[in-house]
């Protein structure tokens, strides 16, 4: 989210006496930033639980900041405080609360908070400072069923900034012209797509004819960090090989080429993606509910000259990694590392980024712990129960402890498939679950 407006902010000490101030601020702020009453209430509930949890366990006088960021289609509540003792394991998707266990009463609120919002993630956690983020999205009416005719080929077109009406038309055209694997499900909800672009997190270059007819689109998402994620290009009624696709990509590159991003990643490519502009990273298998699989290709291009970097790797995966780096012509120093009995905390945390409508989930290790194998098993079992056929794990090769998890993944039927350069602190390695019994 990169809403251009300054966030709403309140600073106060962590003190249970002030919990009503937090709830009042959250609810009113969320409403002011565009959430509906129901969503604002859920965010408020989550904020209350997190604040209460922090206040119960904080040392007296601990400072606390709550910021509300408007994102157009959502509101992000950011909790910032110095913290060492927070039991983050309760943010695992698989956490179950035992009502008979009084010792876990303190944690119940965190479980409720995690379930009341759409996304939860840590922005920073270095052992002393915490930035915990709760994201609640607006609720939109489902797209009205409309018969959207495919536009005729455009003899001439111009590239324009996306307006609300054109974005709504885009949502309808996408549903009619492209399979669901080639765009995020949110793009099908016209009002949401409009808000996503208006909020500044998503951007769209459109090609329109003389009378404003929509001929094509390329979208991208800038959420800070090193990677810009792109979608498309989508062409409607244009002949194969139309230069419109390259022009749309160039319009995006003109915007992001001078940003602080390092990469333009395309995980939702179409057949119209101009190959000269992108590098082929590889592919995942995309599993459909009927058990069939189709390839899921990934492309990217760097936006800057690659300075080289280091990658941490378990010895078991060194051959794979070297081969991948050679194929991609990426200069990397591979450092081998393995867990060798050093102290680890007891509990791990895995963040789950889910897209139910598309049937895939990506797990990202957030906190290391001795229970990683069991935690991973629980997550896989949950996903399988929920009939999510595509389970991936993303490891950041810039973090040594992520490399320590590689053999755990291999033992549990995960296969290394894809390198995403500079997608994290360093490159990310994506593993795909291959269905081995656990």
């Amino acid at each position: 989210m990169s809403g251009s407006d300054l966030p709403l902010e309140v600073n106060l000490p962590l003190d249970m006496e002030l919990v009503r101030l937090v709830t009042s601020f959250t609810e009113n702020g969320a409403l002011a930033l565009g959430l509906g009453g129901s969503e604002a209430l859920k965010l408020t509930l989550a904020a209350e639980e997190v604040y209460a949890y922090l206040a119960r366990l904080a040392e007296p006088g601990t400072s606390f900041t709550l910021r509300l960021h408007g994102g157009g289609y959502c509101v992000r509540a950011e909790f910032r405080c110095p913290w060492k003792r927070m039991e983050l394991r309760y943010f695992n998707l698989t956490t179950e609360f035992d009502p008979n266990d009084e010792s876990s009463l303190d944690q119940l609120g965190l479980v409720l908070a995690a379930r009341a919002v759409d996304r939860l993630f840590l922005q920073e956690y270095d052992g002393s400072r915490l930035s915990l983020n709760l994201v609640k999205e607006k609720t939109y009416p489902p797209p009205a069923p409309t018969a959207t005719p495919t536009p005729p080929p455009l003899a001439s077109w111009r590239l324009v900034e996306a307006g609300p009406d054109q974005l709504k038309e885009l949502a309808h055209l996408l549903a009619a012209a492209y399979p669901r694997q080639q765009y995020p499900s949110a793009f099908l909800v016209p009002g949401k797509l409009v808000d996503m672009v208006a909020g500044g997190e998503y951007h769209a270059a459109l090609a329109t004819g003389e009378r404003g007819q929509l001929g094509g689109a390329f979208l991208w998402r800038t959420a800070g960090g090193a990677t810009v994620r792109s979608y498309g290009p989508y062409l409607f009624g244009q002949p194969a090989g139309s230069p419109m696709a390259a022009q749309l990509v160039e319009a995006c590159l003109a915007r992001v080429g001078k940003s602080d991003a390092l990469n333009l990643l395309c995980r939702y490519p179409t057949a119209e993606l101009p190959p000269d502009y992108f590098e082929y990273l590889g592919e995942l298998d995309y599993g459909w509910p009927d058990g069939s699989h189709t390839p899921w290709p990934h492309y990217y291009r760097q936006l800057r000259e690659d300075p080289g970097m280091s990658a941490w790797c378990h010895p078991d995966l060194e051959p794979f990694l070297r081969q991948a780096y050679d194929r991609l012509f990426l200069p990397r120093d591979i450092h081998l590392t393995a867990y060798e009995g050093e102290h680890r905390d007891e509990y791990s945390v895995l963040a789950a980024h889910m897209d139910h409508s598309q049937g895939h989930v990506t797990l990202t290790p957030m906190v290391d712990g001795r229970d990683v194998p069991a935690n991973l098993d629980l997550h896989v079992q949950l996903m399988l129960r929920e009939q999510t056929p595509n389970i991936y794990v993303a490891l950041d090769l810039g973090r040594t402890w992520h490399a320590h998890l590689m053999p755990v993944l291999l033992e549990r039927g995960f296969e290394p498939r894809l390198l995403l350069p500079c997608a994290g602190k360093a490159d990310e390695l994506i593993f795909q679950y291959r269905g081995k019994a656990i």
């Binding site: 052992g127 002393s128 003109a254 502009y277 291009r301 760097q302 936006l303 200069p331």
Partner: protein, 375 residues
């Protein structure tokens, strides 16, 4: 990994950092050559990325550099490059007070913007040109309005259409880096006449000494007629003192007097000032030798690139652009793996183009062979 205890409170950067700085991309310079060679596992590196003069400094400048007495490093330099300004004035027939010398052209760009822009003002330049005008304006909190190039050149109509009452400076890169296109004197005069003194017009002539076309204008000669004109020049390119960081601007007495208020004194070191002075003693011979090299190698490069079926853009200047059928950043990595360093152009808003600086013939040959391998 354990972290050291921090005794003070962390600064609230969200509040402290201005929005225009938050949204701004920090310039990340290339790593030093030894680091790049280690990273890319090569034992040599042809630097064809920074438009450096492969002949190096002129003989007179080399003598000064080699003979610089170490004890003088303990003394402050002339704070305003006194002798160098005298020499520049003598060479170009201007008043010494019409010159400001800075720590490279980048610094004199900041002099101009700091002197004339305040909150709500804007600058106007092209979208695909030397990036520092846009950078300095943006990170200083001023809007940079960008007119698209037309046929690879600065579009006077486009520039004029962006100018309003809050436009303080128009930056024109002549010849343009990276396209090599340029305005002749008549076109420059027309543009200056249109503005009629309402804005400062900066003409960046960093590469003017490479221009061989007799119609190429000399901005310094126009200063008497156009008091709103400011000309930037540098000793980094033709005169090969890039490592010493020294450049200058020239303008009318009144305009330069204003800019002097914002300039950083003592920012140009003694060795740079003295090497620049020396290079003016044998400048003509050095320019002639460099031009001959650039002319010859540019022709060779254009011929080879065209032969490979690539689109080529070359004008005045010591560089050539080529459009590749692949990502320019991929080409950068694959050429680096062969010890050849070019400039990828996505950051210039020329995706899939690369810019090749003119080097000595072995470097040019190595580049052509390297390029053939990756196409």
């Amino acid at each position: 990994m354990s972290s050291l205890a921090v005794s003070g409170r962390q600064p609230d950067l969200t509040r402290l950092v201005p929005a225009y700085v938050k949204s701004f991309e920090a310039y990340v310079p290339s790593k030093p050559d030894p680091e790049l060679m280690r990273t890319y596992r090569v034992d040599h590196l042809y630097r064809l990325n920074n438009n450096e003069n492969p002949l190096g400094p002129s003989p007179r400048a080399r003598t000064v550099i080699a003979g610089f007495p170490p004890p003088r490093a303990s003394l402050y330099p002339s704070g305003d490059a006194y002798y160098l300004r005298l020499r520049l004035a003598e060479r170009f027939g201007l008043d010494p007070e019409q010159f400001l010398v800075g720590n490279g052209a980048n610094e004199v760009i900041t002099f101009a913007i700091k002197a004339f822009c305040e909150s709500g003002d804007n600058i106007v330049t092209a979208d695909k040109t030397f990036a520092v005008y846009e950078w300095v304006a943006t990170f200083s909190g001023f809007e940079a309005r960008l007119a698209p190039l037309k046929d690879f050149g600065f579009d006077d109509e486009g520039l004029l259409s962006l100018i309003d009452g809050r436009t303080k400076i128009v930056f024109i890169c002549n010849p343009n880096n990276p396209t090599g296109t340029w305005w002749d004197e008549a076109r420059l005069r027309r543009f200056l006449d249109c503005l009629d003194g309402r804005q400062i017009v900066v003409v960046d002539e960093a590469y003017c000494e490479f221009a061989e076309d007799p119609a190429f204008p000399d901005g310094l000669k126009l200063l008497k007629e156009y008091p709103n004109l400011v000309v930037f020049r540098t000793f980094s390119k033709m005169f090969a003192l890039a490592g010493l960081r020294i450049g200058y601007l020239a303008g009318s007495l009144e305009v330069v007097e204003v800019m002097r208020r914002t300039c950083v004194v003592y920012s140009v070191n003694t060795l740079a000032q003295e090497a620049a002075l020396a290079t003016m003693e044998d400048a003509d011979a050095h320019v002639a030798a460099t031009r001959e090299l650039v002319r010859r190698e540019k022709a060779y490069l254009a011929r080879e690139l065209t032969g490979l079926g690539l689109a080529v853009q070359a004008g005045e200047g010591c560089f050539v652009m080529a459009r590749l059928p692949m990502s320019d950043t991929l080409a950068y990595r694959r050429l680096m793996a062969q010890g050849i360093m070019i400039r990828s152009m996505t950051g210039f808003r020329f995706p899939n183009w690369i810019r090749i600086s003119i080097g000595l013939h072995p470097a040019m040959e190595a580049f052509v062979q390297g390029l053939k391998k990756i196409l």
